[in-house]
């Protein structure tokens, strides 16, 4: 890959970012490549050293705050025409409510995801709580003169304790999964903003 290809690919992949940011980044990498070549390495070697533009772009996007990407995409590049403003205002009962509904759906899906995790933890807590209560109850039942029932209750509470230990690991995994999915979702949203630009 030569420098021209590297820069073209990187620029295309970063097209969703503010233009000034992109220029600054490109300048930075151009300087890095030039400095390597000055040391006597070939153009190809220098670029291979820096890495693939796809990967670099991915990392840059991950490093850029979502608000910065969103601001760039949402703010129009030119002044709106009068009829566009009129249309936007007249159509606001439709698009505004649709946008709010869409946001609400996304938000509720996200909350539902966490609700599952929270309920799993609740199950874990109740199972663990069963163990001491069950043992106390079992002892009480034995003293009250029903040893068979008492031992059965104690046995059940020990089973609860055992299940609780396993449930703990499951809950941890579920929480980790949620955090992972949150990160993935964030990257997906960023990609949406970038992709829109590519299609134009």
């Amino acid at each position: 890959m030569n420098q021209q290809e590297f820069m073209t690919t990187l620029r295309a992949r970063l097209s969703g970012l503010p233009a000034q940011d992109v220029e600054e980044r490109l300048h930075f990498y151009r300087e890095m490549i030039a400095d390597r070549m000055e040391e006597g390495r070939t153009e190809e070697e220098s670029i291979a050293d820096i890495g693939s533009p796809e990967r670099i772009a991915e990392q840059i996007i991950a490093d850029t705050p979502l608000t910065r990407i969103a601001k760039e995409r949402i703010l129009p590049q030119r002044r709106l025409r009068a009829w566009e403003i009129v249309l936007l205002a007249l159509g606001s009962p439709i698009w505004l409510s649709l946008a709010v509904a869409l946001l609400a759906v996304i938000l509720s899906l996200y909350v539902a995801l966490w609700a599952v995790t929270v309920s799993l933890w609740a199950v874990f807590a109740s199972v663990v709580a069963c163990a001491p209560v069950g043992i106390a109850l079992g002892v009480g039942t034995c003293i009250a003169g029903q040893p068979v029932g008492g031992v059965a209750i104690m046995g059940a509470s020990l089973v609860c304790a055992g299940v609780g230990i396993f449930a703990f690991f499951g809950c941890c995994e579920a929480t980790r999964g949620c955090v992972l999915l949150s990160g993935l979702g964030m990257r997906l949203i960023k990609k949406c903003f970038i992709k829109k630009e590519d299609a134009q």
Binding site: R25, H27, F28, Y29, E31, M32, A34, D35, R36, E38, I50, G51, I56, Q59, I60, D63
Partner: protein, 105 residues
Amino acid sequence: MDIQLKRGLLDVCVLTAIKNEDSYGYKIIKDISPYIEMSESTLYTILKRLEAANMLTVRTAEHGGRLRKYYHITKAGLDRIEDFKNEWREVMSIYQFVTREEAEG
């Protein structure tokens, strides 16, 4: 290594690389590379962060018919290095305490 810790270390490494004389991107990476690995995009992010924190200033100068950016450390940057040294003197004494405990135990 812990991400937060590594971030702090990288900041100080970059500041140290420009402490004695102004330096440029590729030279900073080369100077640091024996101690800690750093990619170009990581360096870019760090330089931006340090510039925003007024720990360094940037100037563009001509070099061999092209433009190159040079980074210059500020008073705040020098202070950051001093803070780091003081912090780590403490950390090192704790490290010695921990390893001595292990050796005796």
